[in-house]
């Protein structure tokens, strides 16, 4: 047993003004939040701002947090609000991507360029999706939330998430097919 404190235990400490507990929560979740925000917004700098805003809201709401809740679902509900607010306040000019992979491995420059181009194409295609579909896809596929958890974050039912993901993937396959060699569209078409 490593004895790591649970999220709820940390939140109780945060609500009492424990900065170390807050730091531990940020460290535990910052990469997941930053990844979701970056994939959703397609803008690394904006995603960092949103991630900071999310944690400030967590900090701020700590005295009102109910420990009966599932912390990660609650956290990603805040992520959803902040991401939607960010898209409302700032219209996207163009698909931008500056995100670096988590681990950089030494590969030949040509391959690196190809991989980067491919990532940019995927990210641009993601940005073409309606906000709700995009967030469902990002939470489910990148963050690994279950259908029920994604439903709780989006304020819908697991069945609603399923339909959302279906439409998102169908659209994404159509967007990626000409450039990325994805053959899913024909198959996924209902």
């Amino acid at each position: 047993m490593t004895g790591l404190p649970s999220d709820n235990a940390l939140m109780v400490r945060v609500s009492r003004g424990d900065a170390e507990a807050f730091r531990a929560l940020v460290q535990r979740y910052q990469q997941r939040v930053l990844t979701v925000a970056t994939r959703f917004l397609g803008d690394r700098a904006r995603a960092e701002e949103v991630t900071q805003e999310v944690f400030l809201r967590v900090f701020h709401a700590a005295p009102r947090y109910r420990t009966a809740a599932n912390f990660s679902t609650w956290l990603f509900t805040i992520v959803r609000r902040c991401c939607f607010n960010a898209t409302r306040t700032e219209r996207r000019e163009a698909a931008r991507l500056t995100a670096a992979p988590a681990t950089a491995s030494p590969v030949d420059p040509e391959q690196q360029l190809l991989r980067r181009e491919r990532r940019e194409r995927i990210q641009s295609a993601l940005l073409e999706l309606p906000a709700r579909q995009r967030l469902a896809l990002v939470l489910h596929c990148f963050d690994g939330l279950t259908q029920a958890e994604t439903a709780a974050v989006l304020g819908t039912t697991p069945r609603g998430v399923e339909s959302c993901l279906y439409r998102a993937k169908r659209r994404l396959a159509a967007l990626l097919e000409p450039s990325a060699g994805i053959s899913a569209e024909r198959g996924i078409e209902g």
């Binding site: 003004g17 910052q30 994939r39 990148f142 259908q147 399923e162 899913a184």
Partner: protein
């Protein structure tokens, strides 16, 4: 037992359903859905190429410092002190006293309002834009309130009532209490 149709299978596969049981049975007998399943697997692996985003060095400390700054920006004289538990009780008591002195017993009944009346409430405990948003959402839960404009720097909430609706003061107090740390200090009518 009702058999699954192709659109249900495709929808469930897109939602990440496992390819066993009745879905597996359907896939074995349906080439179209097998093709869809292969396409979805390819799409999922394409998406995985994006991978997680690396957190920049010093990001955690930046967030912790920003949180600290949020507390430091607290306006002087603010009674929102729930971050420091030792102050919470005096703040609540003080808030209650102020409420009693400034607003009086009339608060606890529905305040009669003229059509399109605007009121300004002094709200204790706000210290940042997140507080303003929280208070706004809490106030909008009160029946009969059409719009609200919160200014956390001034510690006020400008409330517009729906036509012919009274201000339900008890509901307003209870709504603010749900926010833990906010309290109604005074109400004034705007001519």
């Amino acid at each position: 037992m009702k058999r699954l149709n192709c659109s249900t299978v495709k929808r469930r596969l897109a939602g990440g359903a496992p390819r066993d049981g009745e879905i597996g049975a359907h896939l074995r007998s349906c080439p179209d859905c097998r093709e869809a399943a292969a396409g979805l697997a390819e799409l999922d692996s394409t998406l995985q190429q994006l991978g997680p985003v690396a957190v920049p060095e010093g990001f955690t400390e930046q967030v912790v410092r920003a949180a600290q700054a949020l507390i430091d920006r607290r306006p002087s004289g603010s009674r929102w002190v729930s971050w420091r538990p030792a102050w919470r009780v005096p703040a609540t008591v003080l808030g209650g006293l102020l409420l009693g002195v400034l607003v009086g017993s009339a608060l606890f009944s529905a305040h009669p309002a003229r059509a399109d009346e605007t009121l300004v409430c002094r709200i204790g405990g706000m210290m940042c834009h997140i507080c303003a948003e929280t208070v706004e959402n809490l106030i909008l839960q009160v029946e009969g309130i059409e719009a609200v404009e919160v200014d956390w720097r001034k510690g006020t909430a400008k409330i517009r009532l729906s036509r012919g609706q009274p201000l339900r003061v008890r509901q307003l107090i209870e709504a603010l209490e749900r926010g833990r740390g906010y309290n109604l200090e005074a109400i004034e009518l705007v001519p």
